[in-house]
């Protein structure tokens, strides 16, 4: 039964078209990266590895991206839940609020953030009188990166929550589970795949973000310079070193994803 279905499918010409298209996509995604690695000037590697720019930026990038993802989870999960539980019109409106920052050029996001939290902006001024500085430091970087990456997390999680079988929550409630227990033992485990996808998306977006960070928070080695900013700055004079930095950033990301793979992307069954 199954075998005939498979073989008849493999005979259809459409299958080759699909395979060819998929292969093109894989090449399109990997060739530029291989090119980057191919251009690597290995003599530079040792020098870059020992540079303080790399160490400072890598550590800051990790802290900032983890901070941004943590904030996304903390504030994004309740929003995702709310969106998934609203009537269609409210849901559409809330989704729009989440999508707009995604389509804004990151530089514009940075300007927008400045208009709220900048030193001369209303909220920023209040915070400054309270002695709280939210720009030109790590906090500013986290704010900028969260603004850009949180929507990815919210949309992914919201999609998961919306597709969750709500009757499972009903069943838990009839078994005496409080709303909190239902959330903890049904809603969240049931959206685990979506939450993991959201985490990965948000983190990927966070680690690569530079437009909003540069505009909102600035670029200063050791204080606000994340990896993408370090790469951009290095690129001004030293393409080889910038190339090495890019490959190192890529390598660090792959390493982290591989380490988390079992936990993050394993079959959620």
């Amino acid at each position: 039964m199954t075998r005939t279905a498979t073989s008849s499918r493999s005979r259809s010409p459409g299958r080759y078209v699909v395979l060819a298209a998929a292969l093109c996509t894989v090449l399109f995604l990997t060739l530029p990266l291989l090119g980057l690695i191919g251009q690597l000037n290995w003599a530079e590697l040792g020098r870059v590895l020992g540079s303080s720019v790399l160490h400072d930026a890598l550590i800051l990038s990790l802290l900032v991206s983890i901070g941004a993802v943590a904030l996304s989870v903390l504030f994004g999960t309740p929003l995702a839940w709310l969106i998934s539980r609203r009537a269609r019109r409210t849901r559409g409106l809330l989704r729009l609020v989440v999508i707009i920052p995604m389509v804004m050029p990151p530089v514009v996001s940075g300007i927008a953030l400045l208009s709220m939290l900048g030193r001369r902006a209303p909220l920023g001024r209040v915070l400054e009188t309270l002695g709280i500085e939210v720009t030109s430091n790590i906090a500013g970087a986290i704010i900028a990166v969260t603004f850009v990456s949180l929507p990815f997390y919210v949309l992914a999680v919201e999609a998961g929550l919306t597709s969750l079988d709500r009757r499972l929550e009903d069943a838990a409630a009839t078994l005496g589970a409080s709303p909190m227990r239902t959330l903890r033992t049904v809603t969240l485990p049931g959206s685990r795949g979506a939450i993991m996808a959201g985490l990965a998306l948000a983190w990927a977006r966070a680690i690569g973000e530079f437009g909003a960070t540069m505009t909102f928070n600035g670029n200063l080695q050791g204080r606000t310079q994340t990896m993408p900013l370090a790469i951009l700055q290095t690129m001004q004079t030293d393409l080889d070193a910038a190339n090495v930095l890019s490959v190192l950033l890529m390598g660090a990301c792959v390493l982290i994803l591989v380490c988390l793979r079992g936990r993050l992307f394993g079959d959620v069954s």
Partner: protein, 352 residues
């Protein structure tokens, strides 16, 4: 009000409304029987607190729970689609109710294990619900509802997803275990056989309302609607009582039915019930003592093992039950003109 369930529910339901009153005493089993779309699911959800009712009251064991959230109602439900939590083991699913009520994990698991044993599925404890067969999942979800306990147990279509053999087996198991439940039991089904085998009290629902309720014997004896009649498998004919000389009859839109003496005034709107087995079928008009003889063609023949149910296009229409041997010896087939004869004394007449 005494212990048990006393409910009057009114709620919107699809395009119509649910409007139901029911009472079930502790230790009693009420069965709600009705076709798809009759409002059974809405009723279950309303009792469990998953949909709010806009009018009425629900009193459970003396507590008013009309608008209480589901987790405070103590209504255990075995859902039609089981709704086991796929990320928990079978044992944890069954222990879920007690753990939700704050029982220590070990106690809850212990009780869960006992219920799984009681339902002969203790060996499934460590399995994931996704690996269970349909029948196993039914048992586990039943165990989960039973383990949770509560003031009302609801089983929603407990055997309909099973194949025939498993169904018989499941009915026996359910009949056994629910006897141990002291709370009122409510079984929802569209299967008349299941309904009649479980019910202490039977509620027949159509279009959001209970059209007839009572113990199974009385419903079998006097169905009040065509649906109820078809459920218990009898002919039910609507008409008005009439007299011709000293003979009683029921006037129908077609031929009148001659009936035995009735203690009702002529003109009363009545229902006439005739059991399909008391009708004699012949391929030509017979001279017998039967006072009713109706001619008509065979509309359809449905064979079930050694019996056949034949639908006649007489007016009023009749269902006749014969042996499969009779079909052969009389050469019965669809479209053949036949005569149906039955005695006046085989017709039960009662007011509508």
């Amino acid at each position: 009000m005494s212990a048990g369930l006393h409910a009057r529910l009114r709620a919107p339901m699809g395009e119509g409304r649910l409007d139901v009153e029911l009472s079930v005493a502790g230790g009693q089993t009420a069965v709600l029987l009705g076709p798809n779309g009759a409002g059974k699911s809405t009723l279950v959800r309303a009792l469990a607190g998953l949909v709010d009712i806009d009018e009425g009251r629900i009193v459970l064991d003396g507590r008013e729970v009309t608008h209480a959230p589901p987790q405070e109602r103590h209504v255990a439900v075995q859902f039609q689609s089981n709704l086991l939590l796929p990320w928990l083991s079978v044992l944890e699913n069954v222990a879920y109710g007690r753990r939700s009520r704050g029982e220590p994990a070990s106690d809850a698991r212990e009780s869960a294990r006992r219920w799984l044993e009681r339902l002969d599925v203790a060996d499934l404890a460590g399995r994931s619900p996704k690996t269970l067969s349909g029948g196993q999942a039914r048992r586990v979800s039943l165990a989960r509802a039973l383990a949770a306990g509560g003031d009302l147990l609801i089983l929603d279509e407990p055997t309909t997803s099973l194949d025939i053999d498993a169904r018989v087996d499941a009915r026996r198991v359910i009949a056994e275990v629910i006897r141990e439940v002291a709370a009122p039991r409510l079984i929802v089904t569209h299967d008349p056989v299941e309904a009649l085998s479980f019910a202490d009290e039977l509620y027949i629902m159509e279009a959001g309302r209970v059209v007839q309720s009572g113990d199974p014997a009385s419903i079998r004896a006097r169905p009040r609607s065509e649906y109820a009649a078809s459920l218990v498998g009898v002919n039910l004919i609507k008409g008005h009582l009439g007299r011709q000389g000293d003979r009683w009859k029921v006037d129908t839109p077609g031929e009148p039915l001659w009936v035995a003496d009735v203690d009702l005034p002529p003109g009363t709107a009545v229902l006439a019930r005739i059991h399909p087995r008391s009708i004699i079928l012949s391929s030509e008009p017979l001279r017998t003592s039967a006072r009713n003889v109706l001619a008509g063609r065979i509309a359809s023949i449905a064979i079930d093992q050694d019996r056949a149910r034949i639908l006649l296009a007489t007016t009023p229409g009749l269902t006749v039950e014969v042996t499969t041997n009779a079909i052969a010896s009389l050469g019965l087939e669809q479209g053949l003109e036949v005569w149906a004869s039955f005695k006046a004394t085989d017709i039960e007449v009662y007011p509508r």
